[in-house]
Amino acid sequence: MKRSHIYRAAGMGWLILTVMAIAHATRLALVVAPTEATMGNVQRIFYYHVPTSMLSLLFPYVNFAASLFYLYWRRRDPMRALTADAVAISAAEVTVVYSSISLLTGMLWGRAAWGIWWTWDARLTSMLLLWLLYVSYLMLRKLSSTGQTQTLAAVLSVFAAIDVPIVFMSIRWWRTQHPAPVFGGGPDSGIDPSMMPAFGWNVLGWAMWGVFLLVLRYALERRRQETEQEAARKSIEGPMEIAQ
């Protein structure tokens, strides 16, 4: 059996499991989980907002690690460096997707719960900054034509990763509009045990979906790199054959 067939079968299996997990998670969040006492049904945004926000702080580290590997390998082993670069751009895009959802669902929840769409509080501002940093990373990669684009992007990624712990700690360091941490935020933190299955399944389902997107995007980037390498090889070999 060819390796590509094994990868395709594994990908399909993973996708089926992911869709099943997300369907189950959505049913738990919308139908099974109890209605929260003070906020009512709008609190159900929590089951998408919190898992997505957690994941939008994990994928930047994949981008960060891949960028470090790229910077290390770019002169020592250019082929490995290209692999690391493909992982880096994939993780950056998935970060933008997840942080966009985090911001959007947060605004929809905030309007219903606080009466405002946006406020410049520490968590919201640092999260917006994270989103802007990774959008800048992608724009740099798209628009730069210096020939050093991948290196510049990798360096930007190292700086962008500094914002991740700031976003995470913002609701611990500064007590502003955003609620205190739901988990690990002191003796009064946590959710009712009857809400945990909906929360846990949403974390699992959206994490599996994120990994699926990451691998799919990585495969696309590798295919693009191979096409570019083939075109470059032909452009070099063509004139050489004519010269002979």
Binding site: V31, M39, L104, R111, L216, R223
Partner: protein
């Protein structure tokens, strides 16, 4: 519990529905974009 309250007229129902639709549109849109690029890159 029935799901009919999601389509009710209150602001909380609208915002909850909008949040869930936004999530599916963004995630589905991105996955669709990758699939489209994949088909283009394969040609």
């Amino acid at each position: 519990m029935r799901l009919s309250w999601i389509f009710g007229g209150s602001m909380e129902a609208h915002h909850l529905l909008a949040a869930y639709v936004a999530v599916w549109l963004i995630q589905g849109g991105y996955a669709g974009w990758i699939a489209w690029q994949w088909m283009r890159a394969g040609k």
